[in-house]
C-alpha cells in the first residue's frame, strides 16, 4: 500500500514540477517578449518615460492572458499615466502663451480621458510631423481623438524662447513617451500574428506540394469558382476543392479489343471537367455512413472527371470517352468506351510521388520520355 502511495506521490510531484517548469518558462518567455527598453534619451519627461516603460511591459504581459485587461492595477496605472502626462506637458509648456498651446492642452485632456478605458484596439500614438507635403504646416495630435491633427508653425517666436525648451523638442519627446506605452504590446501582438500567418502560409505550401497539378486554365477556373477565398476580408486557408477544365495528361491504357501488341500503351487523356477534394483533412468518404453508425471518417483526397482518351491503335477507334476517378492526388483510374470497345486506364503523378526522392523521379522520367505513342 505504502508503495502505491509513494508512487502516487512521486507522480503528483512530477506533474507539479512539470507544470511549475512550464509556467516558469512561459513567464520567462513572456518576459523576454516584453523586455523592451527606452530607445531615446529622455530630457523633458524623465520620470514619465520610466513610468511609460513599466506600463508598456505590464500591458504587454497581458497578451493572451487578459484580453480586455480586467486587472484593476494596470487600468489604474494607465489612467494615472494619462493624468500625469497631462500635468507634465502643461508644466513644460507653461512658458508658452496659451494662444499657442490651447489645442495641445485640450488634446491632453482628451488623452487623459481616453486612458480611463484601456482598450488594446485603441492604443494610440502622438503624431508629430513637419507636415504631409512641402509647403504644408507642421502637425501634432493624438490618433483617434480628433479627425485631423493640429497644424502649427514651430518657428514662431513664442515656440523658441531662449534658455527654454522649444516646442519641437517637447513635442518630439511627447511622441516618444506616448509611443513607448504601446510599444511592448504592438511588438508582441505583431509577432504572434506573424506566427499565425506562418501557420497559414504552411497550409498554402502544403497545397502546392500535395494537391493535383493544375494547368493555367484549371487555376483560373478554380479561382473563379472559389471566389470567397480571394475576396475574403481576412487572410484565409486554401480552398477545399480544385476544379479542372480541358486538363491534359498522359495515362497508361489497356484496350483488350485492340490488336495484339497494342492492347496496353500510353494514351493522351483530356479531362473535360472535373473536381478534386485535395485535402484529406477536409474529406470524409463515409460521411453518410457516419450519420447512421459511429465509425471513424475515412480520410482521403478524392476527385472525378469526365474524360476522353486519344491514341492511335489498330482495330479500335482513336478516341474513347468515359470517366476517371482521382485518388490521393497522385493516382487516377478511368474507364473509356472506344465506340463500344471498353478501355481501362491508370495514371500516376510520378512527380508528386517521387518529389522527395528526385533520383527516382529522374529515372522514371527518362524511361517515360523514351516511350511514344
Amino acid at each position: 500500500m505504502s508503495k502505491y502511495i509513494r508512487n502516487a506521490s512521486m507522480k503528483a510531484l512530477t506533474v507539479t514540477l512539470l507544470l511549475f517548469m512550464q509556467l516558469a518558462f512561459a513567464d520567462q518567455n513572456d518576459d523576454t517578449l516584453c523586455d523592451i527598453k527606452i530607445d531615446y534619451s529622455p530630457k523633458h519627461y524623465i520620470d514619465l518615460s520610466k513610468k511609460a516603460l513599466k506600463l508598456s511591459k505590464d500591458i504587454c504581459l497581458t497578451y493572451g492572458r487578459d484580453e480586455n485587461i480586467t486587472d484593476p492595477t494596470i487600468r489604474a496605472e494607465y489612467a494615472i499615466f494619462g493624468k500625469e502626462l497631462e500635468l507634465a506637458v502643461k508644466n513644460k509648456f507653461s512658458h508658452i502663451p496659451k494662444s499657442v498651446t490651447n489645442d495641445l492642452f485640450d488634446q491632453l485632456s482628451a488623452y487623459s480621458a481616453h486612458t480611463q478605458r484601456l482598450d488594446k484596439n485603441q492604443l494610440i500614438s502622438f503624431y508629430f510631423s513637419l507636415g504631409s507635403s512641402i509647403g504644408s504646416m507642421s502637425e501634432y495630435g493624438f490618433d483617434v481623438i480628433s479627425d485631423a491633427y493640429t497644424k502649427f508653425d514651430p518657428d514662431i517666436s513664442e515656440c523658441n524662447i531662449n534658455d527654454k525648451p522649444n516646442c519641437t523638442s517637447l513635442l518630439k519627446e511627447l511622441h516618444n513617451v506616448v509611443e513607448l506605452v504601446k510599444k511592448g504590446y504592438v511588438q508582441r501582438s505583431a509577432k504572434k500574428v506573424s506566427e499565425e500567418i506562418q501557420a497559414l502560409n504552411e497550409h498554402w505550401e502544403r497545397y502546392l506540394k500535395v494537391s493535383r497539378a493544375q494547368t493555367s486554365l484549371d487555376i483560373m477556373v478554380t479561382s473563379a469558382l472559389n471566389e470567397s477565398v480571394i475576396k475574403s476580408n481576412h487572410l484565409v486557408r486554401p480552398m477545399e476543392v480544385q476544379y479542372f477544365l480541358l486538363h491534359p495528361s498522359i495515362v497508361y491504357e489497356s484496350v483488350p479489343s485492340a490488336s495484339d501488341g497494342s492492347n496496353d500503351d500510353l494514351s493522351f487523356a483530356i479531362e473535360w471537367i472535373g473536381f478534386n477534394f485535395w485535402d484529406k483533412n477536409s474529406t470524409c468518404l463515409n460521411k453518410l455512413i457516419q450519420y447512421l453508425w459511429e465509425v471513424d471518417c475515412i480520410r482521403m483526397p478524392i476527385g472525378a472527371s469526365l474524360t476522353s482518351v486519344y491514341s492511335d491503335r489498330p482495330e479500335v477507334s482513336d478516341d474513347g470517352h468515359g470517366i476517371a476517378v482521382h485518388i490521393g492526388n497522385s493516382y487516377t483510374i478511368g474507364w473509356a468506351s472506344r465506340h463500344g470497345y471498353p478501355g481501362y486506364y491508370l495514371s500516376i503523378d510520378l512527380y508528386k510521388l517521387f518529389q522527395d526522392t528526385n533520383d527516382d523521379w529522374d529515372n522514371w522520367k527518362q524511361k517515360l520520355n523514351k516511350m511514344k505513342f
Binding site: 513637419l130 507635403s133 479627425d147 502560409n201 476580408n233 487572410l235 511514344k372
Partner: protein, 361 residues
C-alpha cells in the same frame, strides 16, 4: 527621432531577392536607392546625402513565388508536350494543344512570362500566397519596430499586393486571439503608404479582394484607415496608369474633408528615361522626392528648394521624348473604363517602345 523604417514592395517582373545574410540589396532596393540618391543631387541641401543614412530600408520580396509557379507549370507542359509532339491525334481539340504549348514556354525568359504573367497569376488564388508572404513579413517588421515610424513604398503590381494585403491584415475591430488573423488599424497604424504607379484600382476590375475606394487602405487618424498619410504617385505618360486610374477628390467623401491634405496626389511629367513606369525615374523626380524627404525623412524642404530642384531635374530630361511617348501610346484606352485587356495592351506598347529605344542606343 530615430530613423524611420521604409518597407519596399516591388512590382511585376524579375527581381532579385535581398540577401539577409550578406546584407546585399535586392534589385528593387537598388533601383529605389539609386533613384533617391540621384534625386538628392537636385536639391542643394541634400547633395551629399544618402538615403541609407536616414532610414532603414527593408525589402519584401515575393517574386520567387511566381517563379516557382511558372516553372512548375512549364515542367508539366513540357512533359506532356514531349509525348504528343509529332503525333496526330484525331479529334483532339486545338485549344488543348494551345494550352500545352503556352505552358511549356512559361520558364522562358520572355517579358510576357516574367512580367505579364505575374499580373495574371496574382489575380488567381496564388494571390493569397503572395499576400500571406507579404503580411507575415510586415508583421515581422512591426514586431521589431522599436517605436520607429513605418512607411511603405509599393510600386506597380506591388501597389495592388500592398493594398490587398493591408485590407486583409488590418481590422478596425481587432481583438487578440479571436481566431481572426488581424492587427489593429489604430494600435498598429502605419505612418504612410506610398502607392507609386498605382494599379490597385485597375487590378480590382477582376476578382477584387476589395475595391480600393471602399477598403481600409486610406489615411485616417482613427480606425477607418490603416495609415496616417497616403500618397498616390503617377507619371502623366506611364502607360499602365492609362486604362484605369486611382483618383480621389474631396467630393468623394472618401475621407473627412478636413483630413484630405493627408491624401496626396503627386503627378510627375518630366521624362528622363523612356521607361516612364520605372521606380528609379519616379523617385528621382523632385515632385516625389521632395515630398518624400520632407514627410518621411523629416528633413525640411521648402517650396523654393523644390523649385530649384525642378529646374535642375529639367536639365537632364530627354528632349522630344514626351511627344515620342505620347505618339507611341496614342491608341491606348484612357480613363476609368479600361479593363485588364487594355492593361496588357499598354504592357505590349511599353515593352515595344522601351525595346526599340534600347536597340537604338
Amino acid at each position: 527621432m530615430t530613423k524611420p523604417i521604409i518597407v519596399l514592395v516591388h512590382g511585376m517582373g524579375n527581381h532579385t531577392a535581398p540577401d539577409l545574410k550578406t546584407g546585399q540589396r535586392g534589385s528593387f532596393g537598388k533601383e529605389f536607392i539609386d533613384g533617391v540618391n540621384k534625386g538628392f543631387k537636385h536639391f542643394e541641401h541634400l547633395k551629399s546625402e544618402s538615403i541609407e543614412d536616414h532610414a532603414s530600408l527593408i525589402e519584401i520580396h515575393y517574386n520567387d513565388i511566381f517563379d516557382k509557379i511558372r516553372k512548375d507549370l512549364a515542367s508539366n507542359g513540357q512533359e506532356i508536350s514531349s509525348h504528343i509532339s509529332g503525333t496526330k491525334l484525331a479529334g483532339l481539340p486545338g485549344v488543348i494543344t494551345s494550352i500545352i504549348n503556352f505552358e511549356s514556354k512559361l520558364d522562358q525568359d520572355d517579358v510576357k512570362y516574367t512580367h505579364w504573367l505575374d499580373v495574371a497569376l496574382y489575380k488567381t488564388y496564388f494571390g493569397n500566397m503572395v499576400r500571406g508572404h507579404v503580411a507575415k513579413a510586415l508583421c515581422d517588421i512591426i514586431g521589431n519596430y522599436n517605436g520607429r515610424r513605418i512607411h511603405i513604398v509599393a510600386h506597380s503590381l506591388g501597389t495592388s499586393v500592398v493594398h490587398d494585403t493591408l485590407h486583409q491584415l488590418y481590422s478596425g475591430d481587432y481583438k487578440e486571439d479571436d481566431g481572426i488573423i488581424d492587427i489593429s488599424t489604430v494600435t498598429h497604424k502605419l505612418d504612410s503608404v506610398w502607392m507609386v504607379a498605382n494599379v490597385s484600382k485597375l487590378m480590382a476590375t477582376v476578382l477584387p479582394v476589395r475595391d480600393p475606394y471602399t477598403s481600409l487602405v486610406r489615411p485616417s487618424t482613427s480606425k477607418s484607415g490603416v495609415c496616417r498619410t497616403m500618397y498616390n504617385v503617377h507619371h502623366q505618360l506611364d502607360p499602365f496608369m492609362l486604362p484605369v486610374q486611382f483618383i480621389r477628390t474631396k467630393e468623394d467623401s472618401w475621407i473627412p474633408e478636413e483630413y484630405f491634405d493627408h491624401y496626396l496626389d503627386l503627378e510627375t511629367k518630366m521624362v528622363t528615361q523612356y521607361d516612364t513606369h520605372a521606380i528609379k525615374q519616379y523617385m528621382e523626380d523632385p515632385v516625389v522626392l521632395g515630398n518624400f524627404v520632407h514627410s518621411v525623412l523629416q528633413i525640411p524642404v521648402t517650396l523654393a528648394q523644390l523649385k530649384k530642384a525642378k529646374e535642375s531635374y529639367k536639365n537632364i530630361s530627354l528632349e522630344g521624348a514626351a511627344s515620342e511617348i505620347k505618339t507611341a501610346y496614342k491608341d491606348l484606352v484612357r480613363g476609368d473604363k479600361g479593363s485588364m485587356k487594355d492593361f496588357f495592351d499598354a504592357c505590349s506598347k511599353a515593352y515595344e517602345l522601351i525595346k526599340n529605344k534600347a536597340d537604338l542606343s
